[in-house]
Symmetry: C2
Subunit: 415 residues, 2 copies
C-alpha cells in the first residue's frame, strides 16, 4: 500500500516555512504498513490543487491532504477535492451550529464566511476537531477500479496529530491488510556515521526481514533505526529485537540508548540512580555542556552547577585552577582540563567534575594547537581522566562534539 | 515564471529526513523573480520519477531535480529525465577521465559503476562539481510549445549551493525577463507574533508593491521579511527600504536587527564597540545564556565567563549572593536576580553582569511562583535593573524567552 501526502499552503513554498506534518504522518503510516510514495507541496491555487489531487489518485492508495481547511477564500482544499472527485459539497448544519457556539463562547459573532468550514464532501465522514475550528474529512472512492482512502486534515500539528491518531488510524486499519510493525532505535556515541555503517552493515545486511536506516544525529551521535513487519506484534518485535541484540553486541558499550533516549537523559538517569552529583567547568563550549545537562526536566536533582571560564582569570578564580598550570602548559592543555575538572568538583562538592578546554574556532588555532583540538576531563576525587581529541567542522560542530565526549565520559564512568 | 523543485531519494520519504535544499533554492529563485509553484518529493523508483517529471513539464517553466546523481543503481535521475524528454544519454569521456583522476588522487581505482556519473542527457550542458563526484546538468527543452529550463543538481548542500549560485543563476538570468528583487529582514525582540502583526499590518497592508511575511523566530523574536521587485535594483531597494523605515518607526527600539543579524551577534557588536565586557550568573537557564553569547565567533573578546548556579550553595559560593537574601526572598526572586548580576559582575570584574533566576518547569511551580516566572537582572556597577516576566510554553521555550529577555536588556543598555 502506498500513500501520498499533499501539503497545501502558499507559505510552504517560501524560503521560510517547511511542511513538517508529513514526518509525523509518515511515522504513523509506516506503523500501519503503508509506505509514503510521494509528497507534494502545493500553493493555495485551485487549479494547482486539482492537478495535484488528480496525480495522487492515479498513484496512491491513501491520499492525505493537509491544510487549506480554514474559513478564508484561500482555503480551497474542500472545493478542490470535491471537484476532482466529481462530488458535491454539502453544508453540514450541525458543524455550522458547533462553529457558531464556539464563537459565542468567546463572546463573538461568527462571520458568515466561517460557515464554509461546515462544507462536507458528499459521502465523507466528518472528523471533529477538538483543538481548532476546522473539522477533518474521511472518505473512500473508487478510481479506475481501485479503492482510495482520502483524508482531509487541518495543518496545525496540535490539531492534526490527535485527529490522525484518534480518528484515522482505526479507520485505516479496518481496510488495510492486517500487518504489525515493530521499531527500535539504537543510539551510538562518539563513532562517525561511515565507520558505524561499516561495522553495522555486515550484520544488518544479512537481515532482509528488518529494514535498517543509519542516520547521523547531532555531532557525535549515530542512530540505527530498525523496523520489521509481521502478522503478529510479537513476531515483529522478535525480529527487531534479535537484530538490535546483534548490533548491541558489535558496538558494545558505545550504544548508549536502546529506546531512543538522548545522551543527556541517559546521563541524568545514571546520575540519579547512583545518587551522584555533577558539576562542570567549561571554556570553549561556553555553557553548552551545562545547557545540555539542564535541558532535562528534573536535572536540578543531580546537577549542582558550574562555571563558564573563558578568561584565564576566571579559570583561576571561579574554577580553582592554579595560575602556574595555565602559565606552564597553556589554557588549552591536558593539565588545565584536569585542573578544571578537579577544581570545580572540589569547589562545588560534587561527586563528579567535568572540565573542557579547547579551540572551537574559526580563529585562534596554531600549528601546535589547531582549531578543533579539545581536552575533556572527568574527576571523581580519586583519579582524573583526560581525553584529547581533534574534532572537525565549524564552531558549532566542534562545541557539540566536545560536550558529547564529556557526556559520554560521565556515562561510561557510571555504567 | 514558475518553478518546480523535485527532490529525489527514498530517505526523504522516511520519518527521519527532510528535503531542505528547496528552502535555499526557493530563496535564490525568488531573487530571480521566479516563484516556486510546486515541490515534489519522490523515491528512487524509475516510474515514480518519470511520473513526477511529466507532471512538472506540464506546469512549470523551471524544473529542478535534486539528488539521484550518484554512482549506484538507485541513482536514476539521469535516466528518468532522459526518458521523459525522449532524449539519449551520452557518456562524456571527459567526465569519466576526471572521475578516474579523482579516485587515483586518493590512491583508489574507480569502480566501473561510477562511470555512470559521466552520462549526459543529449543537449545538456555539464555543470562541474568542485566539491563532489556528481556533475550537474542544465538544458532547455520545448514542451507543448513552451520553453522549459531543466536542471539536475546533486543533493548535498555543500555541492548544490555553490553549483547553483556560480553556474545556474547566470544561465537562468539570461533567459528570464529582467527583474530585480530587493529584500530586507527586520527582527523584533520581546513582542509576540500576533501583537507584532497587529501593529505592523496597518503599515504593510497599504504597500501592495512590497511582499511582507511575518514569522515567529526563536521564542521572543519576530521576523519581518520584506521583498519587492522592480526593473532596476535601485527602484526595488527603494521600495523595501521605505517600508522598512515605516516599520522601524512603529516598533522603535524593539527592532534589534535591520539586516537579519541574530540578537547575540548584535549584543556582541555593541559590547565590542563600547569596549565593554560581560559576565553572567544563571540559574534556570542552566548555561543557555552563556552558550548563546559564546556561539558568536570572537566572543572571547567581550565575554569573560559566568556561573551556572542551580543549587543555593553555588549561588553563594560561585556568584557571591548572600545566603540571607536567598533565605529571606527565596531563590526565585527579584532580589536574588539582582544579587546574581551584581555578584558575578564584581567577582569577574566585568563592565556588565547579568543574573537570571526562575522556574523553567515542567515541575517546581507554586501558586505564588508558577512555572514560567523568571527574573532577569542587569548590573552595571551603578544601578541594577530587574525585569519580572511570566513566560508561557514548555521548559525549552521558557529558557529561551528568559535568555532573550536578558540579551535584550544588555542591548538596550548599550544602545
Amino acid at each position: 500500500m502506498k500513500a501520498e501526502i499533499i501539503a497545501i499552503g502558499s507559505e510552504l513554498l517560501t524560503p521560510y516555512r517547511q511542511d513538517t506534518d508529513s514526518l509525523f504522518l509518515t511515522a504513523k503510516l509506516n506503523q500501519l504498513g503503508v509506505e509514503v510514495g510521494f509528497k507534494t507541496i502545493v500553493g493555495d491555487r485551485r487549479s494547482d490543487l486539482i492537478g495535484a489531487a488528480r496525480a495522487a489518485l492515479q498513484r496512491a492508495d491513501v491520499i492525505i491532504f493537509v491544510g487549506g481547511l480554514g474559513p478564508t477564500e484561500d482555503d480551497l482544499t474542500r472545493e478542490a477535492v470535491a471537484e476532482t472527485l466529481g462530488r458535491q459539497l454539502q453544508r453540514d448544519e450541525e458543524i455550522v451550529g458547533w462553529l457558531r457556539a464556539r464563537f459565542a463562547e468567546r463572546g463573538w459573532k461568527m462571520p458568515e464566511n466561517n460557515a464554509r468550514q461546515g462544507d462536507v464532501i458528499e459521502g465523507a465522514e466528518v472528523l471533529p476537531n477538538k483543538r481548532g475550528s476546522a473539522p477533518g474529512q474521511f472518505l473512500y472512492t473508487l478510481y479506475l477500479g481501485k479503492m482510495r482512502a482520502i483524508l482531509l486534515l487541518p495543518g496545525p500539528p496540535p490539531e492534526l496529530e490527535p485527529m490522525f491518531e484518534e480518528q484515522c488510524v482505526g479507520r485505516l486499519r479496518k481496510v488495510l491488510p492486517p500487518l504489525f510493525i515493530a521499531t527500535r532505535e539504537l543510539k551510538i556515541a562518539m563513532i562517525g556515521e561511515s565507520l558505524a555503517d561499516k561495522r553495522a552493515a555486515p550484520i544488518y545486511s544479512k537481515r532482509t526481514d528488518v529494514e535498517t536506516t543509519i542516520l547521523a544525529g547531532t555531532p557525535g551521535e549515530v542512530q540505527l533505526h530498525l523496523r520489521a513487519q509481521a502478522d503478529s506484534q510479537e513476531a515483529a518485535q522478535k525480529k527487531v529485537d534479535s537484530l538490535a541484540s546483534a548490533l548491541e553486541e558489535e558496538f558494545d558499550d558505545a550504544v548508549f540508548s536502546a529506546q531512543g533516549e538522548s545522551l543527556e537523559q541517559i546521563v541524568g538517569y545514571y546520575l540519579e540512580m547512583r545518587g551522584a552529583t555533577l558539576a562542570v567547568a567549561e571554556s570553549c563550549t561556553g555553557g553548552l555542556m551545562a545547557e545540555r545537562v539542564t535541558s532535562v526536566p528534573g536535572s536540578s536533582r543531580y546537577f549542582l552547577g558550574g562555571a563558564v571560564v573563558y578568561s584565564n582569570e576566571l579559570k583561576v578564580s571561579l574554577a580553582g585552577v592554579k595560575a602556574s598550570i595555565i602559565k606552564e602548559h597553556g589554557a588549552v592543555s591536558n593539565q588545565v582540563a584536569a585542573a578544571l575538572a578537579e577544581g570545580i568538583r572540589e569547589r562545588v562538592n560534587a561527586t563528579l567534575g567535568v572540565g573542557i578546554t579547547g579551540i572551537a574556532g574559526p580563529t585562534g588555532g596554531t600549528e601546535q594547537k589547531p582549531v578543533g583540538l579539545v581536552y575533556t576531563a572527568l574527576a571523581d576525587g580519586h583519579k582524573t581522566e583526560v581525553i584529547e581529541r581533534k574534532f572537525f567542522g565549524d564552531r558549532e560542530r566542534v562545541r557539540h562534539w566536545a560536550t558529547q565526549q564529556a557526556l559520554d565520559m560521565v556515562r561510561r564512568k557510571l555504567m
